[in-house]
């Protein structure tokens, strides 16, 4: 039977210790952040390109 200490894998770097799952989630968020910056947003071609008035 596995003990609770066997549950999950951890990445250790000096004083930093983080579960592999949490690390992957954070990396995925960083990737999504970068993609949100670089992927073009779909435009409505019928609207003027200078946007609205808000």
């Amino acid at each position: 039977m596995d003990s609770v200490f066997d549950a999950g894998k951890y990445v250790s770097w000096g004083v930093v210790s983080i579960s592999l799952t949490n690390l992957l989630v954070i990396l995925a968020m960083v990737v999504i952040f970068v993609l949100a910056l670089v992927i073009p947003f779909p435009h409505d071609h019928e609207s003027p390109s200078d946007g609205g008035d808000a």
């Binding site: 989630v25 968020m29 999504i32 952040f33 993609l35 949100a36 910056l37 992927i39 947003f41 435009h43 390109s49 200078d50 946007g51 609205g52 008035d53 808000a54």
Partner: protein, 210 residues
Amino acid sequence: MSTAPPDTGGGTWTAGLRDRLSRTVPADQLLPDRQPAYVASWIYVFGVLTLAGLIVVVGSGLVLSFGGAIWWHTSSLGHFVNSVHLWSVELFFACMVIHLWGKFWMAAWRGHRGLTWVTGVVAFVASIGAAFTGYLTQSNFDSQWISGEAKDGINSIGVGSWFNVLNPGQMLMWHIVLLPLAVGVIAVLHILMVRRHGVVPPLGDEEVSS
């Protein structure tokens, strides 16, 4: 509806409040149907995704309250709703943190938007409290372990007698009443601040959009 200038109402508190509200967020800014061109970027989507996540979190939490804290242990429907609650929280936080990153790197407190930034920070902190008390209301060994670990931290800051993480009833009340109320009120204030000042323009674009 009349288009006449606003009536001062003879100094009544209702008229004063109405006047204050209309000056804080004019009606045409409250629910706009157009936005500046720079808002057409995916990074501006994560604020409203966070709001959508919060709505699902609160909605699934309301459904869970019908069955009670241990409903999800004994019912497949309860388990499903509990999972919706959990994963909507995960998406809520992920979107909120990406929203935070975006707003930080575009210095979103510019242009008298300091209060918008501060209400966002407070909403983030209150949300963390709501999430942590959620871990304490799972009614399983995980919540027992977490509360056992958390009590030392809470006691170390001297508030353990008022905020007892070993008391599941108290933690449930904080989780489903006090903290959601705080997050909801702060989120509304945050959104009103956004609507009052508008979406922050990109760095270097202030003179174009002002």
